[in-house]
């Protein structure tokens, strides 16, 4: 008896386990969101986009949350105007057609486009626009700039936005270009707009949400779009684990549009006739320095002479060849982008950083500042050797290769560079709290191409805090200079480009001397396309939008410009 029962048990356990596994698989099928749809995509007329999403996709179309799915901004909910960060052109009208400032810069009057409909058929009105700004202003969770204007619809076509202080010109790009429009009649009914995922979003944009589950979602062309129904019927977004998976998906024709850097991309793409790429360098990779001893920074880099010496001792051509696949460009000591921002660059500073290493200049700067070479070939002053540590995120292979090259380049100029590779979290915490000497990072994009959005967050005293407190993602160099502060304030309170240019020239002279962020190269931003299903992608000659798939507002502009390939 005992024997027979136990004999069967193992078998039954196994059978049970197999059955259980089967059920679990079936369950996973149910939990996927249950949305209908599918089809199209890779085999049909639609295109597939990889925007850098990894892992699980959580449905969230709430444009106020920083975790919203990226098409929420620009594709489903449009702003009033579009600011193209790839060019210096004037903002392009979307839901707004015109705007003007009043005399003292406290009120902005916006004229809206007529005949626009929400995707549920209701008309888009000035009341909707006013509701948007007032909701943002009154909800602390949404008021990300802290300076959202009060809004009033003065007619069927015009809205007046009133700021708290005069000369609020610097809020223009953020207000007009960074505020997604949501429908009042839908949002009024939401009990908690902060945690609402805004399922089945109602927007004015070129696409609406088709289906979504935890692995993928599909957008469908909006037939009543004011600019005409987009030509590409469906756009599918997928999630991939990493850049390796993305590159193999691109080469296998499973992805039509993505922005990832992968080694050897030029040859790989050239071998596939349907693939194309465009490079839009816009982020200046720099050595961020904790520059201000008065705010608690420690180390040789608190001396501007050391930062200057590093600036000259770096061989940027070599960095480009060894680390950046020869697609990076020379940066400007003004931290602006040569070409795009030429109108703002004063003639008093070098237009671009030197391409080769200038060891003589570097050593001369150090010696003039009182440094003397020690027996080990490294400069020192007052017993302190010019030995610096640079922190970098582990796994950022191009940055790590660049640091390896710089270690040798700087050694030639008598500067010792050591590096520590840390996890992203630690790197970011160090940088924001000022507990670093040098840090590899890049200067992010602003609300518009106005240099104010580069200078105010990175260089103004008001954007920084002492070491030990978090400066957010702002002035992590802890740079503080009253001349720069005055110029930033002056540039921010005028609408006159000539006055701005004068002030920016003052800033540029100061920062080119002090160099709290040492520009290395302007990193490539590569975007890859598959032209076999859709054409009309941005090219080097026609950058009608910033083509990167991670750039929120621009995606909507690109998608409505695409046409089926045949």
């Amino acid at each position: 008896m005992h024997l027979t029962t136990t004999r069967r048990r193992p078998r039954r356990t196994l059978a049970l386990a197999t059955a259980l596994a089967g059920t679990v698989l079936a369950l996973s099928a149910c939990s996927g969101g249950g949305a209908a749809g599918g089809g199209g995509g890779n085999t049909g007329d639609g295109i597939t986009v990889f925007n850098g999403a990894t892992g699980n996709i959580a449905e969230n179309w709430n444009p106020f949350t920083p975790t919203a799915l990226q098409p929420t901004l620009g594709i489903i909910h449009e702003p009033l105007f579009y600011y193209n960060l790839a060019s210096s052109d004037a903002p392009e009208p979307l839901l707004g057609t015109e705007f003007s400032w009043n005399e003292d810069g406290s009120q902005l009057t916006v004229t809206i486009r007529e005949g626009v409909e929400w995707s549920d058929g209701e008309p888009f009105t000035t009341e909707d626009v006013a509701y948007n700004f007032n909701l943002r202003r009154e909800t602390p969770e949404f008021n990300t700039s802290g300076q959202t204007p009060a809004a009033e619809a003065i007619s069927d076509t015009q809205v007046v936005l009133t700021f708290d202080s005069p000369a609020s010109y610097t809020q223009e790009a953020n207000t007009l270009g960074n505020t997604p429009m949501i429908p009042q009649h839908v949002w009024e009914a939401k009990s908690d707009p902060v945690t609402d995922i805004n399922a089945d979003p109602v927007g004015t944009g070129p696409y609406t949400v088709g289906s979504i589950n935890a692995q993928t979602y599909e957008l469908e062309a909006n037939p009543t779009y004011w600019g005409g129904e987009p030509k590409i019927p469906t756009v599918r977004y997928i999630s991939l684990a990493n850049a390796d998976a993305a590159s193999s998906a691109l080469l296998a024709g499973e992805v039509d549009w993505m922005s990832s850097f992968f080694p050897g991309f030029e040859d790989l793409i050239a071998s596939e006739p349907d693939l194309a790429w465009v490079n839009t360098p816009a982020l200046t990779t720099s050595l961020f320095t904790c520059s201000n001893a008065a705010l608690g920074c420690e180390g040789p880099q608190t001396d501007p002479a050391v930062r200057q010496a590093i600036y000259y001792a770096v061989d940027r051509d070599q960095l480009n060849n060894l680390a950046f696949e020869k697609v990076a460009e020379l940066p400007s000591p003004t931290l602006l982008i040569p070409g795009r921002d030429d109108q703002w660059v004063s003639g008093e500073v070098e237009a671009t950083a030197p391409s080769g290493a200038d060891v003589a200049q570097a050593t001369q700067i150090l010696e003039a500042a009182g440094y003397a070479k020690g027996g080990d070939g490294i400069y020192a002053k007052g017993g302190q050797r010019v030995s610096l540590n640079v922190q970098v995120v582990s796994g950022y292979s191009d940055y790590i290769a660049a640091i390896d090259a710089m270690t040798q380049q700087l050694a030639a100029a008598g500067i010792e560079l050591t590096s520590s590779q840390v996890a992203y979290n630690e790197w970011s915490a160090n940088q924001q709290n000022g507990t670093f000497q040098l840090s590899m990072d890049s200067i992010g994009l602003g609300a518009s191409t106005d240099p104010y959005f580069t200078y105010q967050p990175r260089y103004a005293t008001e954007s920084t805090v002492p070491v030990g407190e978090s400066a957010g993602a702002l002035n992590n160099a802890r740079y503080s200079n009253p001349v720069v502060d005055a110029a930033v304030a002056a540039a921010g309170s005028t609408d006159d480009d000539a006055v701005k240019a004068e002030q920016y020239a003052i800033i540029q002279k100061e920062i080119a001397r002090d160099m709290p962020y040492i520009p290395l190269v302007i990193s490539s931003t590569l975007t890859e396309f598959n032209t076999s299903r859709a054409t009309g992608w941005p090219t080097e000659d026609d950058l009608y939008a910033f083509p990167a798939t991670w750039k929120a507002w621009d995606n909507g502009i690109v998608l409505k410009n695409l046409k089926p390939a045949n």
Partner: protein, 329 residues
């Protein structure tokens, strides 16, 4: 009865210790979720000084609350089944995030682990029964697959079967273009197809351990006196092999198997990274990268519970299968 009470008491204490560690460990990591979110936002667009406050309010990150009251409310919430709201996937709750990803992991890793175990035990039994046969010579080959680092083996197979020969897909859990998740055959068949290569790599890399262990136990069991007795009684070789030798030889492997089941969740990270498989391993990785305390705690809780649960199950089952292990008080 006292035996079971003792066991359960031990597991309750272990659970408490694990829950406490789950709470403490994520908070020892550098950085906090708001800083990381700000740093990511700043690369893509402008960030104002006021942005920090608005994000803190939205995520409900109240930095003023003391660590002890956080701990107390955490324990309370866990027992109510409320794991909090994820920061990475805000405003999705941790429970929903886990529910969306865990089934994929359990299905893939669970099935693969069971296949590897069954295959390893059966092959090990046969190899031990007929020492020196071709099957016995297979063991070094399978051990080689186990000794190669798993991610390397997975990458090589992915390259060969998905990139060069294109027999299997390169990534994903199912065909996102042609099927939609649900209880329909196209989806299930596609999920099985997409899971084959990842499962194959897991089986290949883990079958050797089971096989070797089973074979050696089989060899030593076969020299026991009761095997001789069974042969003397004239039982069929098949009956001796399965009922007398294998049944006793499998006991140590069975314990190992249960523990492996418990580690399925934790062990899936590499597999899911290599194959872009939509499971909980990837979610854990993004939780760690974003300092998402609530999500990390939730996933650690799942791991803790599965390891403890598997162990408890083995403990209890073992005392049924093998009466010798029951404590004699």
């Amino acid at each position: 009865m006292r035996f079971y009470l003792q066991k359960i008491g031990f597991y309750v204490a272990a659970l408490w210790a694990a829950l406490t560690l789950n709470f403490v460990l994520p908070r020892l990591m550098p950085g906090d979720p708001v800083d990381i979110m700000l740093s990511k936002l700043s690369a893509r667009g402008p960030v104002a000084p006021e942005t920090r406050r608005s994000i803190e309010l939205m995520l409900g990150v109240d930095s003023d609350e003391s660590i002890f009251s956080q701990y107390a409310s955490y324990l309370g919430n866990v027992f109510r089944g409320d794991l909090g709201v994820s920061v990475t996937y805000f405003p999705q709750t941790v429970t929903d995030t886990i529910a969306a990803t865990l089934p994929w992991t359990i299905a893939l890793m669970g099935i693969a682990t069971i296949i590897a175990f069954v295959l390893g035990i059966v092959l090990g039994m046969l190899a031990g029964w007929k020492r020196g046969s071709w099957l016995d010579n297979l063991i070094p080959v399978t051990t080689m697959f186990q000794s190669v680092p798993y991610f390397w083996l997975a990458l090589v197979l992915l390259y060969i079967f998905a990139s060069v020969f294109r027999i299997f897909p390169t990534n994903g859990g199912y065909d996102v273009y042609g099927t939609s998740p649900g209880l329909n055959w196209p989806f299930i068949s596609s999920a099985l197809y997409y899971g084959t290569l990842p499962a194959l790599t897991i089986v290949l890399s883990s079958v050797a351990g089971w096989m070797l262990g089973m074979r050696n136990m089989m060899v030593s069991t076969l020299s026991e006196d009761y095997i001789l007795t069974a042969e003397a009684k004239g039982l069929t070789p098949r009956r001796i092999r399965t009922m007398y030798a294998a049944r006793n030889a499998v006991l140590p492997s069975l314990a190992g198997f249960a523990i492996t089941l418990g580690f399925i969740v934790a062990g899936s990270i590499v597999t899911e990274q290599v194959f872009s498989y939509p499971g909980i391993g990837q979610t854990l990785l993004s939780a760690v990268q974003n300092n998402d305390y609530a999500l990390m705690q939730g996933i650690f809780l799942v791991i803790t519970l599965s390891v403890l649960g598997a162990n408890l199950l083995v403990d209890l089952l073992y005392s049924v299968i093998d009466p010798r292990t029951r404590a004699r008080a």
